[in-house]
């Protein structure tokens, strides 16, 4: 008769398969042959690490939500500008030349806001660059700058740069804690 296969032994902490002669679990480091005190202190330490990781994850998700809100606000601003421009310049033959770029930017920023929950850094960096290039075109077309316009541009750029900064922090936290 063939010998019966040895029963599978599992670790008490991570429930992964282990060998009978193991002193420590090869997967989580649980002291299989340690004293009761050693084992319970290992478990409580592990719980603390899990709790800490969950806290960080919550913080990261919170920040990502805030960043997405900034992008959605900008999208709303562009679409609002397009709508106001449309009613103001209704009789002007160049109305479409004003409305279409703003509408286009609005849609792009909506997409960026939606996608920023997954890839925040990509969305903020490309959002900032797109905005700067769009403003450059605008300034070249209408060189008479108003104070209000400049202040708006600066505020939007500051918001986007802050978004990039927190996206970088998110990436750093993700890398340090192996959260994907």
């Amino acid at each position: 008769m063939p010998p019966a296969p040895p029963p599978i032994i599992r670790c008490d902490a991570c429930f992964k398969e282990i060998e009978n002669e193991d002193v420590f679990c090869g997967h989580c480091g649980y002291p299989l042959k340690g004293t009761k005190v050693e084992q319970s202190s290992f478990i409580s330490k592990q719980n603390k690490v899990d709790y800490y990781k969950a806290e960080i994850k919550k913080k990261v998700e919170n920040r990502i939500d805030k960043g997405a809100t900034t992008l959605f606000c900008l999208a709303g601003l562009f679409i609002l500008a397009a709508i106001i421009g449309f009613f103001k310049l209704q009789d002007n033959p160049q109305v479409l030349a004003f409305v279409i770029p703003y509408l286009f930017l609005g849609i792009i920023f909506l997409l960026l806001g939606e996608y920023s929950k997954k890839k925040p850094l990509v969305c903020f960096v490309s959002g900032l660059c797109l905005y700067i290039i769009a403003e450059l075109y605008d300034i070249v077309e209408n060189p008479q700058a108003s104070l209000l316009g400049i202040i708006t541009i600066i505020i939007i750029i500051v918001f986007l740069v802050l978004g990039i900064k927190s996206a970088v922090e998110i990436e750093q936290i993700k890398k340090e804690n192996n959260i994907s």
Binding site: D22, V23, F24, C25, L121
Partner: protein
């Protein structure tokens, strides 16, 4: 009989007690020591690195914007000047981290088949772009056309066109974007995000909203090739073939 797993190659020795343990274990099952060296590298200053990358991109975008928007600078000498500035900036930034970046200039996995395949994809891509742009009847204003304007006619002119639109961008844009920028962003974010950001930024410096539809896929392809092959040279060759085909279309 059960296989004797001592003979399997997937064993490593514990970093603390030296006993043989399985390759995929995080802890030694004899002494309990953690096997992975956790975050042994010094912490990366992500925000500082990103600002540095911003400076690199800022120089390029200022030069490109000047060439694009200021009518007084639409001269041949300024085009020459802007190309030289961008080339120097790419080389300098690439050399900031020479120790880590020099590996990109090696070419261990050289193969004629791959090179030919990339060249063929580049030529096919350019033909597709050329005809789709023609078909959409869009006028794409680019620096290349100005070179053709200034240098048309002679053999030497054609040589300069090829040099400034195919050779220079292929080498220095690859060095700057797929070299320095991608390498820096890989330290800050994951692979995918780094490739996406480099591609978008690369597309933006061309200052043409219409061209984005082919520039972004083109740049994404180059980014993935660079990551996959771990060398800059396939990208340089691909970029060269792509631009050379465009040159030939314009010269004909």
């Amino acid at each position: 009989m059960l296989p004797v797993d001592d003979e399997l190659p997937d064993k490593k020795s514990c970093i603390q007690c030296g006993k043989l343990i399985q390759q995929n274990r995080d802890f030694c099952n004899q002494c309990g020591a953690r096997q992975s060296v956790q975050n042994s590298t010094k912490p990366v200053n992500s925000w500082g690195l990103l600002q540095q990358a911003g400076l690199f991109f800022g120089i390029d975008i200022v030069v490109c914007a000047l060439a694009q928007f200021v009518d007084a600078l639409k001269t041949f000498s300024f085009f020459l000047f802007s190309d030289i500035i961008m080339a120097i900036s790419a080389v300098l930034f690439f050399c900031i981290n020479w120790k880590e970046n020099k590996i990109l200039l090696t070419w261990h996995n050289f193969s004629w088949q791959k090179l030919a395949a990339y060249g063929a994809i580049a030529i096919a891509g350019q033909v597709l772009v050329h005809y789709s742009v023609d078909w959409l009847n869009l006028v794409v204003y680019s620096k290349d056309e100005d070179y053709v304007q200034h240098l048309n006619g002679s053999f030497l002119g054609a040589f300069f066109v090829v040099f400034f639109t195919a050779v220079m961008p292929a080498i220095f844009e690859e060095l700057g974007y797929r070299g320095y920028l991608l390498q820096t962003l890989l330290k800050i974010a994951d692979k995918e995000q780094a490739i996406y950001i480099t591609s978008f930024l690369f597309a933006f410096i061309h200052m043409s909203f219409i061209s984005l539809f082919w520039l972004i896929p083109f740049a994404l392809f180059l980014g993935f090739v660079r990551i996959k092959e771990n060398t800059l040279w396939y990208g340089v060759f691909f970029h060269f073939c792509f631009n050379l085909t465009a040159c030939i279309f314009q010269l004909l």
